[in-house]
Amino acid sequence: MSPLHRQIRQTLTIARRDFTATVFTPIFLLFLFAPVIMTSFGAIGGMGAASVTQGSADKSRLVAMLPEGSAAVVRAADAQLRPLVRGDATPPPLTLHPAVRSAPNVARAMLDAHETDVNAVLYGTLAQPVIAYGTANRADARYLAAVARQAALLQRAGAATPDVRMERIATTAPTVGGRNAAAFFAVFGIFFLTLFLSGQVVGTMAEERNNKVIEILAAAVPLESVFLGKLLGMYGVAMLFVAFWGTVLSQIGMLLPGDVGADIRQLRPAIGLLPFAVLFAAYFTTAFLLLGSVFLGVGAQAATMREVQMLSLPITIIQVAMFGLASSAVSHPGSALTTASELFPLSSPFAMAGRAASGAQWWPHLAALAWQLLWVAVFITIGARLFRRGVLQSGSAKPAWKRLFARR
């Protein structure tokens, strides 16, 4: 046998062992079908995000409060101008109301309403039109001004276009759009952070198994404490990561143009910005602990680093699934899907963070946090028991998942 032939044979021997060792495991099936599952969940997530945006758009309005005779020309002017504005700049639908005596106050109240987002209000007369608009809706106000001018022209052909008085109103109520944006920000933010950070937990028990330190730990400390300790250690790492990048990004944010800052100010959670930040941190914590405890328990069953690596894809899928579920839920407040995602332990932190943006009550959050921490305890207990039974029994004992697939 030539040296080259021998080397090829040796190489193929190694390749064969690695191939069979990888493929003939149940974890490989999860890995194999991961793209299908991931695509499904990605679609769910995408639909959720789309429906959040759509939900906000559906509730936005332009309002015209003008004397009765002007309604027809305003509607005609809107019909003429609306096709000229396309894409993202398309203004919300125009609603006509009869003129009222205290129009400025009514306009202000409309702009400050909780239930619907009135972006701009046209009142006065077509000869002396006034546009009141919310801080972030200047484009819609300009469109409404154009409608007023066009309507005036239609009413009195050949006359000069009227001057439109623009009034910017500082609104106090969180808008539906702002609430939805905050909800989506919360869900996506927690998803993004846990995607990066909680997956790190999966391989932490591998170090103890490889170094044989686990026997020392298991003899001295209850396994539940070992699991919780490792989880909290990694949570500390995650918090350091978040603190570092939070500081860096906040400093970068100060250098950004004003428009970007204005966009961020559009996040108007119903519960208030500071409580929202507190709840965001709390739900990030529980999301990390919940997903981390599941990943830790699953990862502890992996016998080799290869198995740990192969678990990373199913883990990402679970995270994307929870994101998809929660983002769908925030777009349908009060639906069965929302309730389910708020109750299901792994999606609960995401969904409840979304709820913090849309509802002002505190007690559901306190209950949810307690519920989520209870499940952290449950997952840690299950993970520790599976580890004790499957791994610590002896060197030859198969992990629980292997026993599940083992032939009798």
Partner: protein
């Protein structure tokens, strides 16, 4: 078996562990009096490690019960127990002093005291130069010693050592023996497993032999040795093929002379017949059998039983 647990550091009663259909440990009893060095002897795969792990509460027995240190559940007296597992394990990136202190901290010793004691103990064990070395830079024997110090840094009342001598060179084996004796003199109870008889014979106050998952013997070293008759080592002045017919049937030839069990009626009659036949006596000694022979006998009996 029911034993009052107050005088015992370990009381294990009918421990059973099954892996699938196989009973790896099959009704083992252990009673380890306080302040003793107690050996658990057995061949490879006898169930020693599983017994110790059940005793310490690392795994739960399928049947039976065990208590440590005045009748407590193992989990409740973790801070009073030290343990050196068969598979040695340390974090490679930890420094020696930190590793010892870490193991003490797991058993309730505060870090500051743990670090101070670790430095003293490493110095005393001849590892003063390695106090701030990372474990990955130490030799296997040195790392093993570090782990052993970690098992005793919190001054436990019960020290459990699973195959503590395996992998150690003779110098470190002596150090370990000295450390075990020092721990016993301090008042600790030591329970250790081994299949190397010399250590057990030198150290153990009492011992149990486990084979095939069952306890086959329990007693002192002398009681174990008394299971076999004394051995006669006879060297004739000159011999021939006929000599073997005059010796007991169990006699076996050695490099020099013959070895056989001391006959029940004594040796005098046999010697007289050998002298009369002209074989003479060049050398003669009557020896008590060692623990090794007793162990081979106990385990040898157990193997056919287990197969049956």
């Amino acid at each position: 078996m029911r034993v009052a647990s107050t005088d015992y550091a370990v009381v294990a009663d009918g421990l059973v562990k099954r892996y699938g259909e196989r009973r790896v440990v099959d009704g083992v009893d252990l009673t380890v009096p306080k302040g003793m060095i107690y050996g658990v002897l057995g061949p490879n795969g006898a169930g020693k490690t599983t017994t110790l792990r059940m005793t310490l509460g690392i795994i739960e027995p399928d049947e039976g019960a065990r208590t440590l240190l005045d009748g407590a559940h193992p989990r409740d007296v973790g801070d009073r127990v030290g343990y050196l597992p068969e598979e040695r394990g340390l974090y490679p990136s930890m420094k020696a002093r930190e590793a010892v202190a870490f193991m003490g901290a797991l058993r309730g010793l505060d870090w500051q005291t743990g670090r101070a004691r670790a430095a003293e103990m490493l110095e005393a064990a001849g590892l003063g130069h390695a106090i701030d070395e990372k474990i990955r830079k130490l030799s296997k024997g040195m790392a093993q010693l570090v782990q052993l110090l970690g098992a005793v840094v919190h001054r436990p009342d019960l020290l459990v050592l699973d195959e503590p001598f395996s992998g150690l060179d003779p110098v470190n084996q002596e150090r370990l023996e000295a450390l075990i004796l020092a721990e016993r003199d301090r008042g600790a109870t030591i329970l250790f497993s081994t299949h190397v008889m010399q250590h057990a014979q030198r150290l153990c106050d009492r011992l149990a032999v486990i084979a095939g998952g069952q306890r086959r013997f329990e007693g002192t070293v002398d009681e174990a040795r008394a299971l076999l008759p004394q051995q006669v080592h006879y060297v004739p002045s000159h011999g021939d093929a006929q000599l073997a017919t005059m010796l007991p049937p169990t006699a076996r030839r050695e490099a020099e002379g013959w070895r056989f069990a001391l006959p029940q009626e004594g040796i005098e009659g046999l010697l007289r017949r050998l002298i009369d036949a002209g074989y003479g006596i060049k050398g003669l000694s009557i020896e008590r059998p060692g623990l090794h022979d007793a162990f081979v006998r106990i385990v040898g009996q157990a193997v056919p039983e287990a197969k049956a």
